[in-house]
Structures are given as C-alpha cells and as structure tokens.
C-alpha cells in the first residue's frame, strides 16, 4: 500500500515539476552563428516569446535551454561544450537552422561541424535558413510538448553516453584542454 501511495505522490510532484519546467524556459543568450539575429525579434514586442514563459538567462548556471543559433566552427564548438556542461539539470538543447542539422550551406567547409547531435544531445531541431521568429516559437512549443511528455532526456543521454560523446568531440578538438565539471 505504502509503495503505491509513494508512487502516486511522486507522480503528482512530477506532474507539477513538468508543468513548471514547460512553462518556464530560460534561454541562454549565446549567439554562435548568424541565427542570433533572429532571437531579438522573437523576444521583443512583435513576437513576444515571454507569453510562453520563454525568457533570456544571463549565465549558463541559470539557463534551461541552450539555443545553438546556426553553424558551429571547431573553435565555437569548444565553447558550446563548456557552456553546456556548466548548465544545471534538467537542460535542453535546440538546434537552430539547417547548419546544425546537416551543415547547411557550409556542407563542405573545413572548419564547420555538420551534425550537432554527434557532439551534444539535441532535443528539438528548427529547420530553415534562417528560421523566422514564428518558426523559432513553434520550435519552443515543440520543446514544451516534449517536456510535457517527459521525453526531453538529453542531459541523461549525455551523462550515460559520455565516453561516446567525448570520443566524437576529441576527434576534432585535438588539444583537449578543458576542465571537468562535477554535475
């Protein structure tokens, strides 16, 4: 009896947590590529993402969502990995624009990564080059759906498959000179 009661109460707590997480997404303002220019219109008067509880966070420690806005060079990827590892659980990643999906117009570039999800786990992709603010907001709503279903498990996936991700990251970052974070 007690076990079932415990499960029930945990379910209720989980439902409240998920609802709060879904309606309060703090986005790390980290402009990596040209897509960063689409974020200010998304946040300001015309499209007003704050309606959905989407808000900018100042530092990685406070953020929930890492928005990868466009292409990532090897140098930027290093910074993105550090930023991602400094964020606190539960954390989500949105790949923004076709560059993060398959390289986009940089498909043959010598310094741009093509598949973001080989290096950090991505929960939602937004396609387009560049996606307009409407598409960005629809991507966020998709993320909210994923969170409500409890399927946004990117952070857990990263921790469980850390060796695989590290191997991929170290394949292109030769001088691995990064601190270890104690999540």
């Amino acid at each position: 009896m007690e076990v079932s009661y415990d499960k029930e109460s945990r379910k209720i707590v989980q439902a409240i947590e998920r609802f709060a997480r879904k309606h309060s997404l703090w986005v790390l303002a980290y402009g990596t590529g040209c897509g960063a220019i689409e974020v200010p219109p998304t946040m300001t008067s015309r499209y007003d993402a704050e309606r959905f509880g989407i808000r900018g966070a100042a530092t990685p420690r406070q953020a929930d969502v890492l928005l990868i806005t466009g292409y990532l060079s090897v140098k930027t990827l290093k910074r993105v990995i550090r930023t991602y590892e400094q964020m606190q659980d539960p954390k989500y990643v949105i790949g923004f624009g076709s560059c993060t999906i398959n390289g986009g117009m940089y498909w043959d570039s010598y310094n741009t990564i093509k598949l973001l999800d080989m290096y950090i786990p991505v929960d939602v992709y937004i396609n387009g080059c560049m996606p307009r603010p409407e598409a960005v907001i629809s991507g966020f709503i998709e993320l909210q759906k994923v969170i409500a279903e409890g399927k946004a498990e990117g952070a857990r996936k990263y921790k469980e498959n850390l060796d695989w991700y590290r191997a991929n990251q170290q394949k292109i970052i030769h001088n691995w000179n990064m601190p270890d974070y104690n999540w």
Binding site: K75, I101, N102, G103, W107, Y110, T112, K114, I173, N175
Partner: protein, 195 residues
Amino acid sequence: MEVKLQVENEILDKIKHTFHSAEVSIPRKQRVEVKLRNDLIHPFLAYLKDTLGFKHLSHISTVDWLEEKEIELVYIVMNYDNLVEVIAKIRLDREKPEIPTLREFWPQVETYEREIHEMYGVNFLGHGNLTDFILEDWEGIPPMRRDFDTVKYAKETYFNRPGREDAQDVRTTITKKSGEEIPELAKVYSVRHLE
C-alpha cells in the same frame, strides 16, 4: 577621358619616376595598379604614405597562384584627399613565402597578417604574434591554399548526415524524384550546374 584620369596619371608618373622597375597601370577611375619586386614593397608603401599622402591601408589580400608556384600579396592603400586607391602586388615563392611585417607603418595590419599567416601560411618576419587566430590547433597545410581539398577534408573529419553526400542541384533532385519535366528556361541553369 584623358581629363577625367588626370589625378591617376599624375600618381602613375610619380611612381614610374621613383620606382623604375614597377609595372604601373590604371584599370579604371580612382584605381592605380602597381606590380612590384618583393624587396621594394616597404620603400614603396613608405613613399606612398609619407610623400603622396596615402594614409589609409584598406586591406591586405592574398591570391594563391598554384600553377605558377607563387603566392601574391595585394596591398590596397587609399588617399583621402583625391580618393584614389593604389593596389600594390608582390609575388612570393610558394614553397617558402616570407616577407617582413608592416606593423611599424600601420599597427592594424597585425590582424590581417595573422589571418594570412593562418590561412595561406605566409610568414611575416618580425610580426611577433603569429599565433592561432580563427582556427585552433590546425594541423596540415593551410586551408585556403588551392591544393587543400576542402570537401575531402570535411568528409574525413566531420560526420555527414545520410542523404547529403553530394551537392546536387535542388531542382534536378526534385524532378528526379517526382518524374516531372524541367522547364526549358530552367534547364539552362540546371544543365550548366551538372556539367
């Protein structure tokens, strides 16, 4: 026409008078193109800056002449008074490109020279800060040289999403899948692309 290019011709005469070995031409209005010997670039730019009033260095550009085994450096300097730009070109040996730095003339060339060093492997003597700039930990030949195969490197180094192996023309791909005819007007471009 002659009257319009008066300023340019004056500059051309002065340069020819001072540097006899320079090949000078006027490609168009407000442009003077100069081809120089390697060791003359410093005195030439000093002469332009101090005597002719070309105070502004707009850009340093680089061209890789693979077939001629040379690397060309293009210095673009500008005069604010008559708005003429002088384009000075020198050719370096491709195997061992070396040229003294220009930092004492214009401090801002540090950035240009670092980038050229990184992308083309040109060594600027006396620069002092030729460290990693945009590429970090780059190994192998500099990426902007023409014998560097960027597609091959990208395929070897990075993961590629299946279905993105070739750079197909979008219209051709779509018509291949749907079986639809390409319109005559669009065919010109598609065919040219496929060749």
